[in-house]
Amino acid sequence: MSVLIDASSRVAIYGIAGNFGRFSARDLVLSGTQVVAGVAPGRDSREVEGVPVFQDARTACSSTGANAAIVFVPAPAALDAVLEVIEAGCKVIVYPGDGLPVQDAIELRAAARRSGAVLIGPNTPGVISPGAAKLGFMPTSCYTPGPLGVISRSGSLSYEVAWRLTTAGLGQTTVIGIGGDPVKGLNAADAIELLHADAETQAIMYLGEIGGSDEYAVARYAQRANAKPTAALIVGAAAPPGKKMGHAAALVGSAADTQAAKVEALRNAGVHVAHNLPDVVRAAEDALRQCEAIIS
């Protein structure tokens, strides 16, 4: 089992005719994902990398049965493109771009929920269920199937951690990049419910950073009586206050935004918190060991 996507997912790539769209088409096919349609409004392409290309999302979905989409358009065009994909009937949508105005993120989150769809992003590499499907551009070789559900605010950090987990023999059910923006289609509280409900996910690994409140949602989850064992890594201990660290939401404005405050809240909630990146496998192993203790 996995969450959000599986081997039956039929993927459309919006913006397939651009350089990154073409790369993604090749990359997704290599990962074993069913890429059934491309959308490229205003472009002449009929086919890219063997995938049929359409002028609009509705025709693409009705002609091919696409039910999931990844959208490669710049931020000023994202509101319209993602609304189009939602209204075409896709139920899982990834918008990886950064620099999306927060008001547009609010509108897209609400539109997706009204349609019973899930938007992942903005500012994310997407989602992968190793061995089953991928809706994103993370390096496939770093992932392997297994018992851990992973949630990450940062793309690159999730690759590094997945590579460490995989190298240590700790596989993943689904790795969800929720993104580094203040308002997300799927936030940590939403993502953790999906993993909580997934029978194959035995433990949860959360990768967070300074700023925002997602880490506190994870801490609240971990305090539930039936919570799955949870591990975490929070980066940004060395970040100075008042400066935005790349991600729109990664900024220490108040005491609650700091790495130290978040680590304390998570530890108090019983989360296995890694001291730093090299300690992340140990934290995941502790969480999985806690699963075995619960079962036996």
């Binding site: 927060v102 551009f137 203040p182």
Partner: protein, 372 residues
């Protein structure tokens, strides 16, 4: 991007919110041109919080004392910042102070109204009442009224607060603001409300549809150190720090994780430098140019884990840059991700070593800095 109080109040006034009629001065003698009544408030225009407690707001009772007070404010730092301007406003007598804000809330995925019946400098000690309404145009007065009913017994005042909150929600929408906070809102003797302060933070991502915001961002960039200015102009995300290890990385989380590991090893990072928004030969060349020209940078760590950024391409760019590079500062590489196998080959062919783990790369950086 945080607006100054003065700019924020002008935006509020444009949309019909009552603010004191003030004047902005950039040099202390200009205070003599004030034609309004006394007493006045002199308020330094700085970004740092806690201005009131730091003595950045002073009351002046007559024209005689005004210039000396202004001179004193211009000569001091507030949160590490020297004020470029001071706002003069008539001192306002009021019966009560409230806290009212419209701001972004990640948990509910939209805007919220925050209201506290007692505003002022210590407002953060009490959790405010919260009304989550989603997008700016989904504000509903009756929903806020239901929330404030048990909190505010004075019905006339409650209606004024709701009307002001509606106005702040509208301003957040049209200005692409992440926060529109008024602390305090003064309740005047006649019961009307007046915004005594304004903290408005605008969404920099919306600059493509807010021309004045784009100009403001450009002006703020010019105030950054030269090294940061160059990086930002080349679409690299950079924050200057004081240390000796230059870090060229990709992705916010991976860059912060690298900074943390550098700090754990007893060294201090020289920067947060995230090249993921311009992972091109020009972008990486600029990153090296910036760090090579900084005397305090003793060694450079290249730490990139690529997904959409194909690492074999990055490796070829790195070998090209290294073959042309004049600086003798040691460079340590650790690159992994999409195309990693081909990247290792490209690095070996160029006579460069790609560390297999970040741990071994950091060890090499420690050695390089200690022997530099």
């Amino acid at each position: 991007m945080l607006m100054t109080e003065h700019a924020g109040k002008r935006l509020l006034a444009c949309h019909g919110v009552s603010v004191p009629s003030g004047a902005l001065i950039r040099k202390s003698p200009q205070v003599q041109k004030w034609k309004g009544r006394y007493p006045i408030a002199l308020k330094v225009q700085v970004a740092a919080g806690g201005r009131g407690k730091a003595g950045g707001v002073v009351r002046v009772d007559d024209a005689e004392g005004a210039e000396a007070s202004a001179r004193d404010l211009f000569a001091r730092d507030f949160g590490g910042e020297r004020p470029e301007s001071v706002l003069i406003e008539p001192w306002v007598e009021h019966t009560r102070e409230l806290y009212l804000a419209v701001t972004i809330d990640g948990e509910s995925g939209g805007y919220v109204v925050l209201y506290a019946p007692a505003g002022g400098v210590d407002v953060e000690h009490h959790a405010p009442h919260k009304y989550a309404f989603g997008s700016a145009r989904d504000f509903r007065a009756h929903e806020l009224r239901a929330l404030l009913g048990p909190v505010e017994q004075d019905r006339a005042l409650r209606e004024r607060i709701i009307a002001l909150a509606r106005r702040l929600a509208f301003i957040a929408g049209v200005a692409d603001a992440l926060t529109v906070e008024i602390n305090p809102v003064a309740v005047l003797p006649d019961g009307k409300l007046l915004a005594l302060d304004a903290k408005i933070v605008r969404d920099e991502s919306a600059a493509f549809r807010q021309a004045d915001l784009a100009q403001e961002i450009e002006r703020a960039r010019k105030r950054e150190p030269r090294m940061v200015q160059r990086a930002l102009a080349g679409n690299l995300m950079m924050v200057g720090l004081d240390g000796d290890v230059g870090l060229i990385s990709g992705g916010a989380g991976m860059t912060m994780a690298g900074m943390d590991m550098i700090a754990d090893a007893g060294l201090v990072p020289a920067c947060f430098l995230d090249c993921s928004s311009n992972p091109t030969p020009t972008g990486y060349q600029l990153a090296f140019d910036v760090l090579d020209s900084e005397p305090h940078v003793k060694a450079i760590l290249v730490s990139i884990f690529g997904g959409g950024t194909q690492i074999d391409r990055v490796a070829r760019v790195m070998s090209e840059i290294m073959s042309q590079r004049k600086s003798r500062k040691p460079v340590v590489f650790r690159m992994n991700g999409t195309g990693a196998e081909k990247a290792d080959v490209a690095m070996r062919e160029a006579g460069l070593y790609n560390h297999p783990t970040l741990e071994s790369a950091i060890d090499a950086v420690v050695t390089a800095v200690r022997t530099a």
